[in-house]
């Protein structure tokens, strides 16, 4: 039977919901137990949140001042030590997980399965390659521990259970390097819903035309209670910061409603939204590839259509 260690992602003392999605993937492997590892400077609030997730057997915490920021070089040796006795280590496939998981895997001498979208059983997984244009079945070698990152958009967050899992402090004999130092995080914090987990997302592309014009996208999103995203073209043009990019190399999301406005729909962008519930496309070019995947398409000038939409929304 397998035992799975899920690595918690957190920021500012709060558990990232991607952790509960990784727990969902762990449950799909039908393991004997699922433990969540919290590496933090102060773990109390995070570990309490993690303990509520249904399916979690134990929460293990390592509190060290060095763990204040998510530096892969500092966290990976601790993950590798903590992984002893486990058959699998699952990490959310966010920039956090993509950074730290391969480093931990290499220390363990283990291969990694990136972006797991389906778990058939404890040794068989599905993942996308070529920007999602092919899906492969991967079989693991039972002689090695399996390290995997879990594709957010493929898994619902495991809900909170009735009881809380016990929290245990862990002492790890891991030497931590000082060669990597955190300097700062410039965060595009806003009061809007988080792009990665929002139920509704409104995205703008190059068709929006300028940084100033992007206000029209923000206004519509606020009216809908939606998060705001952007295509790579809009980010490259400097309309919005990079943390808003949706697509193969940006965020891969699965909202219930996705509205692509002034986005032509390059394959790299479509990769980021193909698991969305309903896709709406608004574009002046009737031939734009975005219409091939849209559930509802509307051809026209976005600067005329958005005000009309706002009126229709009441």
């Amino acid at each position: 039977m397998s035992k799975i260690l899920v690595i918690a992602e957190h920021l500012d003392g709060k558990l990232n919901p991607a952790t509960a999605r990784a727990v969902s993937a762990a449950k799909a492997a039908k393991p004997e137990s699922i433990d969540v590892l919290v590496l933090a400077a102060q773990a109390a609030g995070i570990s309490a949140e993690a303990g509520k997730i249904d399916g979690v057997s134990r929460v293990l915490t390592v509190e060290r001042a060095e763990n204040a920021h998510p530096l892969a070089a500092v966290l990976a040796p601790q993950i590798a030590k903590a992984a002893a006795g486990y058959s699998h280590v699952f990490v959310p496939s966010t920039t956090f997980g993509k950074d730290v998981a391969p480093r931990a895997a290499a220390l363990l001498g283990a291969a990694q399965i990136s972006d797991v979208m389906a778990v058939t059983d404890a040794t068989h997984f599905k993942r996308p390659i070529y920007a999602g244009n092919a899906i492969i079945d991967v079989e693991t070698d039972p002689a090695h521990i399996v390290v995997a990152t879990i594709r957010n958009a493929s898994w619902p967050a495991a809900t909170n259970g009735a009881a809380s899992a016990p929290v245990e402090a862990l002492t790890l004999d891991a030497a931590l390097p000082g060669h990597t130092r955190f300097v700062g995080l410039q965060s595009g914090k806003s009061d809007r819903p988080d792009l990665q987990s929002a139920a509704k997302v409104v995205s703008g592309g190059r068709g929006v035309g300028s940084k100033e014009n992007f206000d029209i996208i923000f206004k519509l999103a606020d009216k809908l209670g939606a998060a705001v995203g952007a295509s790579r073209a809009a980010v490259d043009a400097g309309y919005v910061p990079s943390d808003m990019q949706v697509g193969q190399t940006g965020k891969i999301i699965a909202p219930e409603l996705y509205m692509a406005i002034g986005i032509s729909g390059a394959i790299q962008h479509l990769t980021g939204i193909k698991d969305a519930g309903t896709i709406v496309a608004i574009n002046k070019d009737a031939e734009a590839p975005i219409f091939e995947v849209a559930d509802f398409g509307l051809v026209g000038d976005l600067f005329k259509i958005i005000p009309e939409l706002e009126t229709a929304l009441g």
């Binding site: 391969p102 070529y130 079945d137 943390d243 009309e308």
Partner: protein
Amino acid sequence: MKILVGYKRVVDFNVRIQVKPDGTGVVTDGVKLSANPFDDIALEEALRLREKGVATEVVIAAIGPADLTAHLRNGLAMGADRAIHVVTADAVQPLTAARTLLKLVEKEQPGLVILGKQAIDDDANQTGQMLAALWDRPQATFASKLDVAGDKATVTREVDAGLETIEIDLPAVVTADLRLNEPRFIKLPDIMKAKKKPIDTIEFATLGVENGDHLKVTHYAAPAKRSKGVMVKDAAELVAALKQKGLL
């Protein structure tokens, strides 16, 4: 300082990938192959550091079949000083690639290794991190800005929460994100010059790399297709349709 750049050849990003009907792979016969776009960005960054006087030599390295020479010549034409070709007929998985690159690192002793953050074929996003772990050196992944000063580098990283800045001691591994730079175009005279630049070939088997290919791909499938929906004529009809689906 010497900079080692990973320079992988992949199916060109403009090619529409087709899965073979029998599920044994994707069609690669006759399709255009190019440098991994992120590796072009990695190479460009190394060249800029050389032009600034920070680096003295830029070495590109690739692991793959005998016909990689033309690909490496492109990297040399772009401006790399020399190339290392680790020859193996079989594709290697990231852990094996990282172990192979470590052998080259031990031999070349670079002050900086720059790789693309991921290759656009397997989309693994692992090799740089694994190399840094095995080398026991810092990693700065998803870099959108790199400043080298003395034996340290300050790197801005594109992370989900925004832009993170870290300081790392050199030597280190940096992986390039899209916005680190815009790679230059290759000029004709440089193609001629590149013909004279050296390419060292090393047989993979002679490096004594421990095999890390633990994963077996048993089947390839095309992704589930989203079906084309309906066109609506105006904003009012769109809002009505979304309300009917319970989305508004």
